[in-house]
Symmetry: C2
Subunit: 408 residues, 2 copies
């Protein structure tokens, strides 16, 4: 008998019919002899509807009251799913975040879980009940309702699995697993049976938005085996996300991630002196512009060139800031390009395999794709290329690393 925590997102519980289907699926796992805890999100559209009501009242509503408001969305779902389970003959009981003491800090709308009291859930499981828990929400020390931010239901599921020492945390979503790259770009993309937490983090942050990043971090920290499955297809095995192990090790590269909406900015001829990086990036950060890749070329004469990438939406704002900085620093010029994309190869295998980078650069060169920037980490190599090369670049790399074939 295994203890499984399952999470169903807003689309999976978006209608009464779908809630009934989830109940049938949960019943299947229960009837197979498992103990099941189900974490659910608000029915799709509900959270946005509630936010819309708040915005009719105030442009800047209190975060505390926003959390009181939006947390009702999941509360509706837990009640309806429990009823559906009961109607299917499964004993079930629902709990809000407050009722199972999902304790968080007081950072409304982006709270972090600090503790879960699992006593009540365990007692229900031991009496043969399925337990249905509201995702996305908790309470702070003072009993105020908090929310974990968008996608936080994944985090609730992982935290619940960690607290219960569950055998597996299953995230049901609208995809049937994690792929080597986006199948819409490379039809040969293959579903991965396994991937490591670290790889998943790199894949997620780069655009394969299957899971909320924080939930993956959490799962890695507490070593909760995490499985991504389709809520609409029965019988699939999905992708298991675990700690690095032998079978993972065999693949050099797990996948090709990419990000379409990048822009790059360079400030050239900056005096090469201590503190110059902060002089350049400080004003950008203060304007709440998130910077992704950062590259500083070696100095020539007494000046250096400094390049970074931002989200395309922030390009204009960042460029204005940088032009001010350039005047102050008496830099030579500011140039930018908002027609670029980032393509990355991700894999824990590259730690122990030499020549990965050269394979990557060679493959791109063969297709005439000019590399504009390069940035590397332990398990990832990213390149910036012209926007027009996105699809060609992804397909070229997918082929170069034989990702269409399962690792042997």
């Amino acid at each position: 008998m295994a203890l499984i925590v399952q999470k169903y997102g807003g689309t999976s519980v978006g209608t009464i019919e779908r809630i009934k289907a989830v109940a049938e699926r949960v019943k299947g796992y229960r009837d197979a002899g498992n103990q099941v805890v189900v974490v659910v999100s608000a029915m799709s559209g509900e959270t946005n509807k509630l936010i819309g009501l708040a915005q009719e009242i105030s442009e800047n509503p209190s975060p505390r009251e926003m959390d009181v408001l939006v947390s009702t969305g999941e509360q509706v779902t837990i009640a309806l799913l429990s009823m559906a389970l009961q109607a299917a003959g499964v004993e079930a009981r629902s709990y809000t975040g407050a009722q199972v003491c999902i304790l968080t800090d007081a950072a409304h709308s982006k709270a972090r879980i600090s503790d879960i009291d699992d006593a009540r859930v365990r007692a229900d499981l031991n009496e043969g009940r399925v337990v249905v828990v509201a995702g996305f929400q908790g309470v702070d020390q003072q009993g105020n309702i908090t929310t974990l931010g968008r996608g936080g239901s994944d985090t609730t599921a992982v935290a619940m699995a960690a607290a219960l020492k569950a055998d597996e945390c299953q995230i049901f979503t609208d995809v049937d697993g994690v792929y080597t790259t986006d199948p819409r770009i490379e039809p040969k993309a293959r579903k991965l049976d396994r991937i490591t937490f670290e790889e998943m983090l790199e894949m997620a942050s780069l655009g394969s938005k299957v899971l909320q990043i924080r939930s993956v971090e959490f799962a890695g920290k507490y070593n909760v085996p995490l499985r991504v499955l389709s809520s609409f297809e029965e019988g699939g095995e999905g992708t298991l996300i675990t700690l690095e192990d032998e079978s993972v090790e065999q693949a050099k590269i797990s996948g090709i991630a990419f990000n379409r909406d990048e822009a790059k900015l360079s400030i050239k001829g900056v005096p090469d002196q201590p503190g110059v990086a902060f002089s350049i990036l400080g004003p950008v950060a203060r304007a709440n512009v998130e910077v992704d890749m950062i590259i500083q070329n070696i100095a020539q004469d007494d000046t250096t060139d400094f390049t970074f990438t931002v989200h395309r939406n922030d390009y204009k704002k960042a460029k204005e800031i940088l032009e001010n900085t350039a005047r102050e620093l008496k830099a030579r010029e500011v140039i930018g390009d908002d027609k670029i994309v980032k393509i990355s190869i991700v894999g824990v295998g590259m730690r122990s395999h030499a020549g990965i980078a050269s394979t990557m650069f060679e493959a791109l060169a063969r297709e005439g794709i000019n590399i504009r920037m390069i940035s590397t980490s332990e398990i990832k190599i990213s390149v910036v290329v012209d926007e027009k090369y996105l699809e060609l670049g992804v397909r070229t790399l997918h082929e170069a690393f034989n990702l269409a074939e399962a690792a042997g």
Copy 2:
């Protein structure tokens, strides 16, 4: 400085515009130097919408899960009203029933309040905040969410006022007070400035459905001055419901109540022996038919006649049951009439004034209205008459007791 608990029902908070209007009204009371606690219902229509969702899933959903579901309605309103107050420059904080520990028994969907922890509310009031509390809901000893049943927000408000020893509990509704009778029947009906709890109970149960009965009982028990006001008209004084006092004593009769949807059933020629009333009413009660007036005539020979009234919707069911009983008891016959109404005069004054009943009967007789049944209590006299006499009867009695003129 007074401490006021205000309750706004579903219609009063039915749209964003109305919620903003309530915020402005609350601000007015607060700015006048009062401490204000606001109890709110779900936005009108929301509770029915939630019940509809549940019914799509199950014909007989678990009462525990129904309470989890429908309690979200008030939670939405407390958040929105708090935001509206804040937007109007009033510090405010919302609480669910669980958060202010509105402790109830475990009778889901019809729970009774046993205790309220007022510490948190007092702390907020002392810091100058308006406190917004979800009506209609509480928690049992195990932390399960409970609801008080339809209209329970009135009870929440009164219980909160009792716990806080508030100076007044104000119920904002869609009428501007309690009237001597229904103005749609008697245009000369007059708004009462004051009425006693007992009279209000008789008026409410007889059709002037301004307040939930249980909340009036509660207010009477804890002597919480209760005021009914219009949420749509500014500046009215409404009707104050209090313990009996001198100014109330002066009026003999406070109002004329009535109930349209009555039916009466008689079983004739029943053997006059101990236990016969139970033999007749037991099966009716077991079928969940509520019985209102009960009359047993004195025995003639060895038999007696037994008459009672029920809601018109229950007439057929009750008649069938009674016909079975008649066969078992070898009674002579069962007769019934579902075209009757009940008209009552209500007033604590009748305790100390003789001749009220004869004034009533004389007035009706003068108009040729035949009385079919009579039933009396300490502060009420009810008669059953043919349906067609409802309006004439009400107007006749309103005139006979000079109710159009304020008591001098």
